[in-house]
Symmetry: C2
Subunit: 327 residues, 2 copies
Amino acid sequence: MKIDYRTLHGHFSAILRKDGFAPPRDQVISSVFADNTFDGVFSHGINRFPRFIRDVRSGTIDPGASPTLINRSGSLEQWDGQQGPGMLNALHCTERSIEVAKESGIGCISLRNTNHWMRGGTYGWKAAESGLMFIGWTNTIPNMPPWPGSTPALGNNPFIMAIPRTNGHIVLDMAMSQYSYGKLEWYQRKGMQLPEYGGYNRENKLSKDPSEILDSERILPIGLWKGSAFSLVLDLTAAILAGGSTSRVIGSRETETDLSQVFIALDIERFMDATTRDQLIEETLRFNSMTNPEARYPGERTLKDRELHRKEGIEVPEEVWEEISRL
Amino acid sequence: MKIDYRTLHGHFSAILRKDGFAPPRDQVISSVFADNTFDGVFSHGINRFPRFIRDVRSGTIDPGASPTLINRSGSLEQWDGQQGPGMLNALHCTERSIEVAKESGIGCISLRNTNHWMRGGTYGWKAAESGLMFIGWTNTIPNMPPWPGSTPALGNNPFIMAIPRTNGHIVLDMAMSQYSYGKLEWYQRKGMQLPEYGGYNRENKLSKDPSEILDSERILPIGLWKGSAFSLVLDLTAAILAGGSTSRVIGSRETETDLSQVFIALDIERFMDATTRDQLIEETLRFNSMTNPEARYPGERTLKDRELHRKEGIEVPEEVWEEISRL
């Protein structure tokens, strides 16, 4: 069935209000889920909404909690998310990073004791829309084996970098695994092989078969030893900066919560105006697509998906809509 | 032949003095090349020294130049490397990032118009030795095709993150290609296959054959589309922050010069003392190696190599030593 943005947003916020989210919190959270859906990231949009509500009902997410400031020193701040909704905590910290960057050129805000922020790109887009460059990351439960191991011990720890651009921001939103579990399940449901190697099977062979990889739990770090090392460093830096939990500690909980995150914004317009910046970016993108016509920049598909979906609505599987309607 | 640290260092500095490097600059550069060699990174140590001297003699590197401050605002600074030696410029900017971080918690120093910094890890180690966390990156000539293209248009743009730790710093030093050209040539000389896929051959097939990949020039970005996107973003952010050249512009020069780099230091001890930090790191490393005995942390091998080489000297191929002796 086809659903338009307004209907989806209204549906989300009606459920959220019922579950204790007072305005404007219900509106903001509905926007995050609806935007992610319309940007083509179903896994952190409509498909994830039921899990979010279940986490509220089980007490993992406190619908009324707001982040509190723990430490402030120079351009560094440390916040406690108080187990509140991950996207509200993360939006707050992105805003603080923007404010501090506007004061002193760069702001680094860390956040502990928070919940899943859904799509990391959300915070990159937000900073870019304010004209700032952004670097951010989160840790997660251990869901990826460190190279060359076979037991999950690292998170896939998404890492975000964003650059403002007048004709469409450049937003890198990159988990440390080649494919997410959500993507493997998607290929499995469709009965398709992965286009590229996604992990190892139980026979210790690289595999494109999503079922084999889901069975072995050996998803592939990007760049093998490199993504493995990067993931470890993102976990440690987030936990140290935030004074929060590492993936190891998160993995010892019953469910994924108590995450650590980092939000760094940079006020790049102090040294380069937007026109010069845009021109520098255009020249590089033109060079890339001239030499390699299939090359895309990160964020390019998002804009196309957004335009298409806003115009035509989105196709929601009946079972997903029914699940949401039962909430 | 076996060479000890002191002999190698003395040899380097004698050549550097002859080529116009006054003390203490000859000493600092000799230390960078000797340290990289003794840390096991021959490609950016002894093997690269002849190329460095050739770049000085051809005028690419100005031996007497020092970086000049272009812009300062809040905790951001922008420097011009004046085409000076890359390691002196990068060490200066690392020091500035540490100083600014000690003033305001975080410092972001950007550098344009510089030369190759050799091993990116050098600057991560330096910041970690001062007790600071570090994030840094550089752009390079275009030497890697953007995914899924076949013509080099992106740099392999090394990205560095470092965390201080009493028993050995954690230092990620990660180029965006799965293997460097230097590493491919090393396997080719040894007549060995790569342990993992390193690129595509001319038949558009993934290959472990270094000769095939050197021939096609299609080295593999880490994580395919992910490393390709990350590389693009590192190039653009470095050039925008530094007001410097992008990989595209660098590629239009006769030789690799005029690079853009970023150095961010974070004064993490403001919120977490070294003992707590060390404990947090040890617990995670112990968890990783308990669950996956082969897992290593980034920087671990460096320390072992350093200890071994300082004790036993290093084995230098006759032809490398002769090439250096002829300089």
